[in-house]
Amino acid sequence: MRANVNVKANLSRIAACKPWTREQIAARAAHDIPEGFYVNLGIGIPVHVANHVPKDREVIIQSENGILGMGPAPAPDKINPWLINASKQYVTLVPGGSYVHHADSFAMIRGGHLDLCVLGAFQVAENGDFANWSKSETDMPSVGGAMDLAVGAKSVWLLMDHTTKDGESKVMRRCTYPLTAGGAAKRVYTNLAVLDVTDKGFVVRDIVPGLTFEALQDVTDAPLHLAN
């Protein structure tokens, strides 16, 4: 844990730039998903990804509750009350979409059929470990499908805030919360930066305008590396 004085400095550094919003984080990730990918979206910021996939790109979205070919939120007068996403919000089905039961849904997930899953996280570490289901051994734990997705999808991206509301880094040398999976995260989109998880640790792909690499490092527990 960093000293409080540093945490306060972190908050003022972050306040000096304009962090990406949750919608902007989701939009950035959506634009990086290649044509033809089968993708699962977890709860939290990731569900917003469905609303930002470029219209000319065919990406097939899977939802753990048995939807393959999930579309964006419906117009208010077009709601199907039987059709919700993992966050229990109304969604749509695209032409070609299908419904399966839970064992089949997780066969897709665990069986290596998804190209990518996009999840939220409490913490991520430079070795790709991440934590998103419990903040302590006494906290009410809620794992959902995260552990199945983390081991089953070919790639895992995390969408998360870079720090806690108090300014503590969530981008860590090692996770302190109970792990969801070891070494699974491949890329991290935060409100301050886009990071790749590589053999040498976090490589910075992009930084929010107004924040320098040095300032980003100051608010990040893990050492950061510049892309070549």
Binding site: E64, G66, P81, Y99, H101, P141, S142
Partner: protein, 227 residues
């Protein structure tokens, strides 16, 4: 003549015993058989172990069953859903036991139970607290955790259409855990929005064949609300 359609909730829930393991379909409130849950409250069985993806919302359905003190233990993947007020209070006061398992492991353990597979290895949860104390084995250089089949005494299912043999269809994402749970219990009870004639469901569209279903009760309640 086989006729699994029963005329009353009391008949549907007859002989559900105290201490039973009850599998409850649904993902949040969608596909959750609330009429059967209220019927179970009326029926009075207590000391239940309930298996459901979430731990109830607000004060309705599953939350109500917990609120009236019938549930000893809940097995679920995601209790921290929106507004789990009843569960949170019971959990905080130590009045309910919680077992959390990964959602896919939960589904597959019930599928295995229904398919006669006593146990299986899964990569899910390796290296985490949820694998603690479980046998591990390596296949092809990768670690896996041994998980056992999970049987229910009773499954409560929400279906869209049903016929007198117990063939079922589901509506959109309300399918979720229902077909898996229907396979995994000794006694499977379905509530259905529509009762159709035998042969009224296209055989290509039957999702749960009647062999898995014991009783069907007609509950044309209309549209669910996300609560």
């Amino acid at each position: 003549m086989i006729n699994k359609i029963v005329q009353s909730m009391a008949e549907a829930l007859a002989d559900v015993r105290d201490g039973a393991v009850i599998l409850v379909g649904g993902f949040g409130s969608i596909g959750q058989p609330n009429a059967l849950i209220y019927g179970l409250i009326e029926q009075g069985a207590k000391d239940l172990t309930v298996v459901a993806n979430n731990a109830g919302v607000g004060h309705v359905g599953l939350a109500r069953l917990m609120e009236v003190g019938r549930v000893r233990k809940i097995v679920c993947s995601y209790p921290r859903t929106s507004d789990p007020v009843v569960f949170e209070e019971l959990y905080r006061d130590g009045k309910i036991e919680l077992e959390v398992m990964p959602q896919g492991t939960m589904a597959e353990r019930m599928r295995a139970a229904g398919a006669g597979i006593p146990a299986f290895y899964t990569p899910t949860s390796v290296g985490t607290l949820l694998a603690a104390g479980k046998e591990q084995r390596e296949f092809g250089g990768r670690k896996y955790v041994l998980e056992q089949a999970f049987h229910g005494d009773v499954a409560l299912i929400e279906a869209w259409e049903a016929d007198r043999w117990g063939n079922l269809t589901y509506r959109s994402s309300a399918r979720n855990f229902n077909p898996v749970m229907a396979m995994a219990a000794k006694l499977t009870i379905a509530q259905a929005q529509h009762i159709v004639e035998l042969g009224g469901i296209d055989p290509e569209h039957v999702v749960t064949p009647g062999i898995y279903v014991d009783r069907v009760v007609h509950v044309p309640y209309g549209e669910p609300t996300v609560t």
